[in-house]
């Protein structure tokens, strides 16, 4: 296992040729300004150099604790934020620093589903206006008029076309999230970034919305970047899962492999926290892992993250090298059945 730090060039070289979206060296630092002169005194390193790719029709789950940078990553992919560094290649074109005008045609291909269905729909607009907005903003002519197109979209997400003239406050949380999904689907995107789309819904509705997302994926060949902190939901919907810790991806692998044979100690700890409903059935747990691993301490501040491996302050395997040399995200073992690599950023991986 080589321990050379991964460079941008290496990231590009490893890039998946089939990828719809491939991200390399992506960084977002939010400056902290103080004083009368608004001098920059530091930066919140929300996302600090991540690489991954998404293939057409694939679902990549993005998990991690609160504040690990997963939502920031989502906002970078949809270019609601401009990255500090790195590239976002979408269909072979770097969209990391495009202007609002240059981005507009691209918006058709990358859409977003938001976390809070309460706040993601304008309370003053009817459902017709909300779901019809993409057509108006993009200036798209629809064969049977916008109203018909909106009603078709409403049927597609399991709402009644008669809801056209209703207002968001007249719907339940699950129905509102369906409206948000209908809006995201309006432009027939290739990639949907779903930022905790079910976190605000109660459990019975979560299943409905997740199943809807899966059905739509099969029907429309969508690729998802599915951001969540609920590990069971991510396991259910994802083909591959990337685990983030403090602005970095620590491990990325096939869903089945990651949940049963995690390599990174952080992933191992995370997976041990997934509750198993039946106390007699432990096979859902990672190999050789029965007891829950309790991590001590808090997540360090992203303003001043620990040197080298960011997990070294809480890792039970940490040694000197973990504090001096940053472990690169490298492939371990062969490809999975689905042809995916298992990459991990650790000097002392587990389950090898």
């Amino acid at each position: 296992m080589s321990t050379e730090p991964s460079s941008l060039a290496e990231g590009l070289k490893q890039a998946d040729p089939d990828a719809l979206l491939s991200v390399s060296g992506l960084k977002k630092h939010f400056p902290i300004k103080r004083g009368v002169l608004q001098r920059q005194v530091g930066a919140v390193q929300a996302v600090d150099g991540i690489d991954f790719s998404v293939r057409p029709g694939e679902t990549l789950g993005l998990v991690g604790e609160s504040g690990c940078g997963k939502s920031t990553t989502g906002r970078l992919l949809t270019r609601l934020l401009e990255p500090t560094a790195g590239s976002i290649m979408f269909e072979g074109r770097d969209i990391a620093h495009l202007s609002t005008g240059q981005l507009r045609p691209l918006r058709r291909d990358i859409q977003m589903v938001f976390q809070d269905p309460q706040s993601s729909l304008n309370p003053r607009h009817t459902v017709g206006t909300i779901v019809g907005a993409p057509f108006h903003i993009q200036g798209i002519e629809t064969p049977n008029g916008v109203k018909r197109a909106v009603q078709d979209l409403l049927s597609l997400v399991g709402l009644s076309p008669e809801h056209y003239n209703r207002y968001p406050h007249e719907f339940s949380g699950g129905q509102r999230q369906r409206i948000g999904i209908a809006r995201a689907l309006a432009l027939k995107p290739k990639l949907i970034v779903a930022d905790e789309p079910v976190s605000a819904l109660d459990v019975s509705i979560q299943a409905q919305v997740v199943n809807l997302l899966e059905d739509l994926q099969q029907e429309l060949n969508l690729a998802y970047v599915f951001i969540a902190h609920d590990l069971s939901v991510v396991r259910h919907i994802s083909d591959r899962v990337a685990v983030m810790y403090l602005g970095k991806i620590v491990e990325i692998a096939d869903q089945a492999v990651l949940y049963t044979k995690p390599h990174h100690p952080y992933t191992t700890a995370l997976m041990s926290a997934v509750p198993i409903p039946d106390p007699d059935r432990k096979e859902g747990r990672a190999e050789g892992q029965v007891e829950r691993i309790r991590l001590v301490g808090d997540v360090p501040s992203p303003i001043n993250p620990p040197p080298a491996c960011r997990f070294n302050t809480r890792c039970w395997k940490a040694q000197d090298i973990c504090r001096t040399q940053e472990p690169p995200l490298l492939q371990i073992g062969g490809r999975s059945e689905a042809g995916f690599e298992h990459q991990v950023a650790c000097h002392f991986p587990e389950n090898v």
């Binding site: 938001f114 304008n122 049977n144 009644s160 209703r166 207002y167």
Partner: protein
């Protein structure tokens, strides 16, 4: 959940464009109600607000048609009736300030002009000035609040500083100083209209800072809402976001502010006219009549009460209506 409305969508599929638009009979029943419509329903149930609204509408109609009505009331607002005035005291003859069938509210001392006609004409100026001043305040406040709240940074800094200056300004003194410098004619306006314009600018142009702060606060929370991000991720430009996404959410605070600013501006106009820097004599105004009545109020209290009651009833009705509007938009606020 696949509870599709089988009937409507099936019809669409089978008959295509020939099928009745799903918006006809079935959809009529399912028509949604906007937040403003819901507030209106709530307002209609508020009896005090509805009575107040009737008074407000009546006063507005009176003011709007004053030029048509006033000339027919007891000879019009400026026609003297010296026969009705006692030559010794210069007070109106008869009881209660000369009220009779020809002059319902009596006549004023010295000249004997019909008070009903003068009150109606005064309502015209009062309401014109307060509505125009409120409109000016709302426009300036919306522009300033949107600029400061949405763009932030140095724009916010400048607007905040301006608002602090305007809030600290001695408006009454400024108005008095400006009024004394108004020429008899300018820009094709007569003296009366120049003073009216000045009042609108002084009352409206100095009231925006307060509303601007309300708007700024609202915009600061609205711009962080996910529907703004959603619109941006669809490719919407800044103008669309400001006018289509944020502005509609400012309807409630704007209506509430306006319905409470109008009575305040009626009082401000009355105060300026009382001080002699508002509507110039002999043009009637409520404040001017109050001022005129003060010298003889011990002998002719009716002259004090008529314009005083006009101000009181109008302002009270507007305030009660404004409270109703606020409660209708924000039922949780309670009383």
């Amino acid at each position: 959940m696949t509870t599709l409305p089988g009937d409507a969508s099936a019809l669409q599929d089978d008959f295509g464009d020939l099928a009745p638009d799903p918006g006809t009979p079935a959809a009529k029943a399912i028509e949604g109600r906007s937040l403003t419509q819901i507030a209106w329903t709530r307002l209609k149930r508020d009896k005090v607000a509805m009575v107040a609204m009737c008074v407000v509408v009546f006063m507005c109609l009176l003011g709007a048609t004053a030029s048509l009505i006033a000339p027919h009331l007891g000879g019009g607002p400026n026609l003297p009736h010296t026969l009705l005035i006692d030559g010794d005291t210069s007070l109106p003859k008869g009881s209660a300030g000369g009220m009779d069938s020809a002059h319902w509210l009596g006549v004023d001392p010295t000249f004997g002009r019909d008070l009903a006609a003068r009150v109606v004409k005064g309502a015209q100026w009062s309401l014109l000035i307060s509505f125009a001043a409120t409109a000016l305040t709302v426009i300036l406040g919306l522009v300033a609040g949107l600029l400061a709240g949405y763009f932030g940074g140095w724009v916010d800094g400048i607007v905040n500083w301006l608002m602090a200056v305007f809030l600290a300004f001695p408006v009454v003194l400024f108005g008095i100083a400006l009024a004394s410098g108004v020429p008899p004619h300018a820009f094709g306006f007569s003296y009366v209209w120049l003073r009216v314009t000045l009042l609108i600018i002084v009352i409206g142009g100095f009231g925006w800072a307060y509303f601007g702060r309300i708007v700024r606060g609202q915009v600061l929370t609205l711009r962080e809402k996910e529907f703004v991000d959603a619109s941006r991720s669809l490719g919407a430009g800044e103008l669309r976001i400001v006018f289509r996404e944020i502005m509609p959410n400012l309807i409630a605070p704007t209506l509430v502010f306006a319905s409470l600013a109008i009575p305040a501006n009626i009082l401000a106009e009355a105060a300026f006219s009382f001080l002699g820097v508002g509507i110039p004599l002999p043009e009637p105004s409520w404040g001017g009549m109050l001022n005129d009545s003060l010298s003889q109020y011990q002998y002719d209290p009716a002259y004090l009460f008529v314009p005083g009651l006009a101000i009181f009833v109008t302002v009270l009705a507007f305030n009660l209506f404004g409270d109703g509007v606020r409660d209708a938009f924000d039922p949780k606020a309670g009383r």
